[in-house]
Symmetry: none
Subunit: 424 residues, 2 copies
């Protein structure tokens, strides 16, 4: 296969469900973000339905404008899954059976105890000469095809539509392939902050943001926190001086108190690693977040060493019976109060037998708010080896946002508990 240098890419999302607004196009968002991190420019994105002519025309138009065209969707076993066939046609290639893919499909169906139906074999087809990207989470493999198109070398990459299949396939197969073919490499560093608003943080860094061209400093969107990305452009395979570190040092001088991560770890990952390092355990008592904190923590591989479990105390009965919150607190101060948050944290630590217990109680809305206790009022509590911390937050937004931001704040509280004791 002829080699290629990739400076520009265009994303083509395929699927009628996107055109009729049934599915939110998170694939293009994810891919665009990944391309940006790799330093590949993108000037155009498209969405087309499951229609042969329109898919072909869109792919051809994209090939005229960009070095690389990335499609998502249309690799399923059904009759309206046409992508592989049409990509072959656009590139003027035959569609051929890939033996390894055929074997994997056969293995997959054996492993789930079902027989392969005829239309499943369709998923083993690829354009002649294409590299196959294996699918670790489904049956449809992806493909990378490099070919000559109107006198230039171009590439088309096909991904399956489900994000749970596309994302690992990008990480495992396309990303390393692209890293060998980009003209420039981009070195990124991320500074994550909590406790300061984005516009205030930007004001503090205004002069740096305006004067820097390499590295650049840009705010990076992330719900409930503030993040800045510092990016240095480097010619591929060339040793260049580290221009990022001096900028990071200056930002830390100005905003250090808000920074909880210089890197790419999320707050739950940082909390997990601190617990692992200290060989300590954690548990949660969740009311309005109703399992969101536990679920996010539980999604991290390796968490079972330090995560004992949680009590989701949606009703007062469970706050009383399982967590031991006194009826007096529930009657006098109410379930959404500093006192209740404290009692929940104490009760969770006692019941779950952990070093650290974090509690959350609040009003997620849309109903349940009063003048004194409005929607968005959230109390957090921590019991870290007997040392109690509580705090009050007022979070704006709908039910989902209140719960999401409350979860983030809970991890932030856990981090501060663990960190302060580490520093001491």
């Amino acid at each position: 296969m002829k080699d290629i240098v990739i400076e520009s890419a265009e994303i083509v999302a395929i699927g009628t469900e996107l055109l009729i607004g049934q599915t939110l196009n998170t694939n293009s968002y994810y891919l665009a973000n990944q391309l940006t991190l790799l330093g590949i420019s993108s000037y155009h994105q498209s969405v087309v339905g499951d229609n042969p002519d329109r898919i072909i025309n869109t792919i051809r138009a994209a090939l005229k404008r960009a070095d690389l065209v990335i499609t998502s969707g249309g690799l399923g076993p059904t009759a309206d899954d046409l992508t592989m066939e049409l990509v072959a046609k656009a590139a003027d290639k035959e569609l051929v059976m890939d033996r390894a893919s055929k074997q994997r499909i056969s293995d997959y169906f054996t492993s789930i105890g079902r027989t392969v139906s005829d239309n499943n074999w369709k998923q083993a087809m690829k354009p002649e000469g294409a590299l196959v990207m294996p699918n670790t989470n489904g049956t449809a493999p992806g493909a990378i095809l490099v070919f000559e198109y109107e006198g230039a070398t171009k590439a088309i990459v096909c991904f399956p539509g489900p994000p749970s299949e596309l994302r690992p396939m990008f990480e495992l197969s396309l990303k390393p392939w692209l890293e060998e073919r980009v003209a420039y490499q981009f070195e990124h560093r991320f500074l994550h902050m909590m406790g300061i608003g984005e516009s205030s943080a930007e004001l503090e860094l205004q002069d740096l943001i305006k004067s820097q061209t390499n590295p650049t400093i840009a705010p990076y969107a992330s719900p409930g926190e503030v993040c800045f990305r510092i990016t240095q452009r480097i010619k591929r395979n060339q040793a260049e001086p580290d221009l990022i570190s001096p900028v990071v040092k200056e930002i830390k001088k100005r905003l250090g108190q808000y920074i909880y991560e210089d890197g790419e770890r999320t707050l739950p990952e940082i909390v997990l690693q601190l617990l692992q390092a200290k060989q300590q355990t954690v548990g949660f008592a969740e009311s309005c977040t109703a399992g969101m904190i536990s679920s996010e923590f539980g999604n991290l591989p390796g968490v079972s060493d330090v995560f004992k479990g949680s009590i989701i105390s949606y009703s007062n009965q469970i706050k009383r019976n399982v967590l031991g919150v006194s009826s007096k607190i529930l009657e006098n101060q109410g379930a959404v109060s500093r006192e209740c948050a404290e009692a929940m944290a104490r009760g969770a630590r006692k019941t779950l037998l952990t070093d650290l217990a974090i509690s959350v109680t609040g009003i997620a809305g849309p109903s349940g708010g009063t003048k004194d206790k409005p929607v968005g009022l959230v109390y957090l509590g921590a019991d870290y080896q007997g040392q109690i911390t509580t705090e009050k937050h007022l979070i704006r937004g709908n039910r989902e946002r209140v719960r999401t931001v409350a979860s983030l704040r809970a991890f932030h509280l856990a981090w501060r508990c663990l960190k302060e004791k580490s520093d001491a």
Copy 2:
């Protein structure tokens, strides 16, 4: 202004933040869904950055293909906000000052106690002949322009980028305008299934899918379930026979045992409504899902009437101490076993004092799997007023997918428990 009949539309989202993956394109999703509900077809969507040539080219290409082009973004006061100017250019119209918009901008700034800066007046400009759509949540008004383009009557609509401004503007201004100009309306119905694969389901319906043109039948896969959409096209303001019901009846005859919803409710919503109707309560005992089920259920407004709480028993200690799973089961059959799932469900119902308790225990991976108990092995248990059900699943995919599908299966089990007793 000449009148127009609108059968097709194309959405063009404008903004570099979309191309670099900094902002998720929820506007196109929202607009596509609204267009579908109005019976307007959409065959293509685009995203372009803040670049004059590319914006003009994209708008012109869209005008060739559709009756209506809807843009979002690029109506702000800064130098890279170019949409209104470029739409005027594409339609060959002058850009003129709109007096009412000018007044509203002046009023807005007075109301927040600021003076209007020069670049804000830019937001009062519109293509000559355009209808203005007032902005109830910001300064940038939108515009509707009908004009002749290459021998046909076309329309361009411009919306501001922030969803909080675009959505009310659509509801208040564009929707009523479109309702007077559509040729057809679409009636949709969704059938949701579980327990059958997409390709097997499609095979069962192959003859129907191929022979139907009105209504159409289209599969739509979302993780862990199968969904078919049945769509009938109806002429505006015309009474037409219901062509959907006979098709639905036929599908139910063939696949009825797998269908859990004829409508748009999700499984957790169905479970919530069944519980509300029966005035019964639920709780969960989660091990490998670690709160995902509780969190999803807890995200539904109004859940507090029926949702008491959950025990996240990640460690065996909590399975024993809080849920009362015997040491014998944990030692002999292990935490991932039918026996443990049953004991967890019994224990959860006893501790949480609910009518129904659902338990999940499994191996989410990536580590922890053995030959006998591989990654993806999940046992579910239900205790519904003393009646016990357990089941075994083998779920393929990464940690996140195993947990997501296990959660969906747990809601499916809850639904079957509640439904069977209802039917009885």
